[in-house]
């Protein structure tokens, strides 16, 4: 062990005495463990105690609030190690070395002292990192970007100032020819590289290369596209894709969706589709919109669809029923609590309008407004989300014509409405006219609903909507 130590010591260019490796028991223990695990030529490195540097303002102690790394993680110079807090100041402590974290000296919420060890880092002996004091102003960069700069095992010698210049201009040090001592990369080398790349001061745009994605990264948005016109085409680089698969547990909304859909699977679905001529309804809505507006309510098509469905359910109550678990009994629900599928940021939710059978179209519209407002603010209550007996999904607002909707248990039917399209149709006189056509796709539980019932319900619903005045006859 000793001989090994001496050899590795000589290749490390430490200058400051306070960072000389400490040969205490723990260091020896680690190096011993290293021998058991490591087989490569890269020998066990030196354990360096990275001390908490001066925070300023005469502060001597801080509280450790978050660790960004754990024991065993490898870090690069300038990676964030932890966040500490002192008297309203939050400080990000970054690593001075490349290496592997061997020990964290504090737990969360413990007090850490300036000048005392914060973490132990095992430095890779072959990478002689020369630690300089805080005079260097290299902007802190994320870990992934930094590893981008160093091909493992390949020494790229450059001072931190030069590294910064390279990083800022998105240049890989490994691609720059160094003209300094030991092939060290100098500032002039970076500038020459830049000039050669594009003939301009601007850096080459890394379009041909997919940069490994950061946890929350996205490609740089719109504005740089303008730049693309001015920047000459970059030198083509080999496509490098180092994206990784990401596995995460299913929680929250998705979990709820999994549960609902798994239960829905047990229901034998059958579908029935049709097209509805909404030409007259479109006109009616146009006429009524301002009236509703005066009363402070936004009137869409949904209130009409919902009311027409309720009128249909009065004639075909089996569609507003529920089958019990053992399929022994059918419960005909008295209330028409019609659910409206809503797409929110988090996912699909289905609040319902209660007792549509006693509501006017205006009241339904008003209630929909309320549910929509709550839905987008994430404030829907349990009462709004339970008790539904029948559901309509207006997927047409996003797009689509015919779909195959899935019934939401414990209901037995669901309708999905496609988008309204202007299509040519023949009228009674055989003339072609412009019609506003919408497609509807119903799904029903074939255990208690038969095709004929579904078809008749759909026809009735269709007739109410194609000729809105006929709704007046049956409105209660």
């Amino acid at each position: 062990v000793c001989i090994h130590r001496v050899r590795s010591c000589s290749s490390i260019r430490f200058i400051k005495s306070k960072y000389v490796c400490v040969f205490d028991k723990s260091a020896l223990k680690f190096s011993h463990q290293q021998r058991l695990f490591r087989t490569s030529a890269v020998s066990c490195g030196q354990i360096v105690q990275f001390k908490l540097s001066d925070i300023g303002e005469g502060i001597t102690e801080v509280t450790v609030k978050e660790w960004y790394i754990k024991e065993g993680d490898s870090v690069s110079q300038f990676d964030s190690i932890c966040e500490v807090q002192s008297d309203k100041a939050s400080v990000t402590i970054t690593s001075r070395y490349d290496g592997i974290i061997r020990k964290l000296h504090y737990n969360l919420d413990e007090i850490a002292y300036v000048g005392k060890p914060l973490v132990d880092i095992e430095i890779d002996a072959s990478k002689g990192v020369a630690p300089e004091e805080d005079v260097v102003e290299t902007p802190p960069m994320s870990h992934e970007e930094h590893t981008h700069q160093e091909i493992k095992g390949h020494k790229t010698l450059a001072t931190p100032a030069v590294r910064r210049l390279a990083m800022e201009n998105n240049i890989k040090l490994s691609e720059v020819v160094g003209t300094g001592k030991d092939n060290r990369i100098l500032k002039e080398d970076i500038l020459n590289y830049l000039a050669k790349q594009t003939g301009a001061i601007l850096p080459p745009s890394p379009k041909g290369e997919i940069i490994p994605p950061l946890p929350k990264s996205e490609t740089v948005p719109a504005a740089p596209k303008d730049k693309a016109r001015k920047i000459p085409l970059p030198v083509s680089r080999p496509l490098v894709f180092s994206g990784k698969d990401k596995t995460e547990p299913i929680t929250g909304f998705h979990k709820a969706m999994v549960k609902t859909m798994s239960a829905a699977l047990k229901i034998p679905h059958f579908g029935y589709c049709d097209e509805i001529d909404l030409t007259q309804l479109v006109q009616l809505r146009e006429d009524l919109k301002p009236l509703a507006q005066i009363r402070g309510v936004k009137l869409s098509f949904m209130p009409f669809f919902i009311k027409a469905a309720s009128l249909g359910l009065l004639q075909y109550p089996i569609l507003n029923a529920s089958l019990d678990e053992s399929c022994q009994n059918v419960t005909y629900k008295a209330s028409h609590n019609i659910g409206v599928a809503m797409d929110t940021e988090q996912g699909l939710i289905v609040p319902n309008v209660k007792n549509v059978q006693v509501c006017s179209v205006f009241e339904i519209a008003s209630e929909l407004n309320r549910l929509q407002a709550l839905g987008s603010a994430g404030q829907l209550g349990t009462n709004d989300l339970t008790g539904g007996t029948f559901t309509l999904s207006n997927i047409g607002t996003i797009g689509g014509t015919y779909t195959k909707p899935v019934i939401l248990p414990p209901e037995v039917a669901i309708g999905a409405l496609g988008k309204i399209q202007i299509l040519p149709r023949f009228n009674g006189k055989g003339e072609v006219f412009k019609a506003q056509i919408m497609n509807v796709s119903w799904s029903a539980d074939h255990r208690i609903i038969d095709g004929a019932t579904m078809a008749r319900f759909s026809n009735l619903w269709k007739s109410y909507l194609e000729n809105p005045a006929s709704m007046l006859l049956d409105l209660k």
């Binding site: 939050s90 802190p140 001061i201 239960a263 349990t382």
Partner: protein, 372 residues
Amino acid sequence: MVFQSSLKNCLQLSCILRTPKAGFRSSSGGLIIQSVSNDVYQNLAVEDWIHDHMNLENRQVLFLWRNSPAVVIGRHQNPWQECNLRLLRQKNIKLARRRSGGGTVYHDLGNINLTFFTTRKKYERMENLKLVVKALKALRPQLDVHVTDRYDILLDRQYKISGTAAKLGRTTAYHHCTLLCNADKFVLSSVLKSPYKGLKSNATPSVPASVKNLFEEDPSLTYEMLLDAIAEEYATQHQIDHQITLINPADETVLPGINNKTKELQNWDWVYGKTPKFSVSTCFNIAYKDSVIDVKIDMDVKHGRIEGCNIDLPDQWLPLALCSELVKNLTGSKFCPDETTTLATTLLRVCPQDDDMHSRWNLLCENMRMLM
């Protein structure tokens, strides 16, 4: 993060910083910028951007900004402990978590924010605050304002008109503070009062203080006057032109990568997920039909998600299987009323249809939502 940085991109900002002003000025330079946006996330993103990308060796920066109504919590704080989240959601007031330490503040357009950017070596909060006080006194000599050793600015020796927080990185640092000019004190006090009981946490607590608006003391003051006075004082001290550069926090050409930073700050995982581990232990009564029952809830929340959950109910009030299913589903989901409601209501779909049971279930869930 990949960003197209070059001298040309940062023309208006870092280029100015990089090219030394040859000759006729001393080495300490400065730049005063003001945001044209009132979006708290965009403005916080500007702070991040300057902190990460600007060279402050030869030039310091003063950033002036105001936000539309928002509650801003410190880096290591617990929003449930600090503010009334229910009220925030109702009133559509945004919640943001800043990267600096310190306590919770309420921002609206009646509050001015000042951020002083320097290198880490030149980080000096007292100096900055004294600058602000000097500016105020120059504007209105009769104002009784002074800086405390807790880095607050007090009016009339008793009312807090400014709070401070700071962020130190490897090479740069910033110190920002608020300045109450004409904020809505009523909303301020109601949103900063947490209704949540039974929280146990090591998060940094805020220290409540009585506040007062500067405009209350002197109604002749306006924002322009205050901003001008502070900019003037800063310009004098740094020996630069008294000129305020406007910046647009949505402009990628001037601040490449800024929109990503804004998105990070809006992300649930940052705002709520960065809450230090805490536990909730509370009980409530539910009155249903003729009886009142006691319910006891215990939850452990880590990274904003429910790590462990226990619901204590009287036997038979709700089916045991359903309750344990709820607990199982809540584990791992966000400590958030929306998710809890979705999960709870979905569970009802797959169990026997009993109106009575449904009503009790809804009552239980409504009460649980109130905890979040």
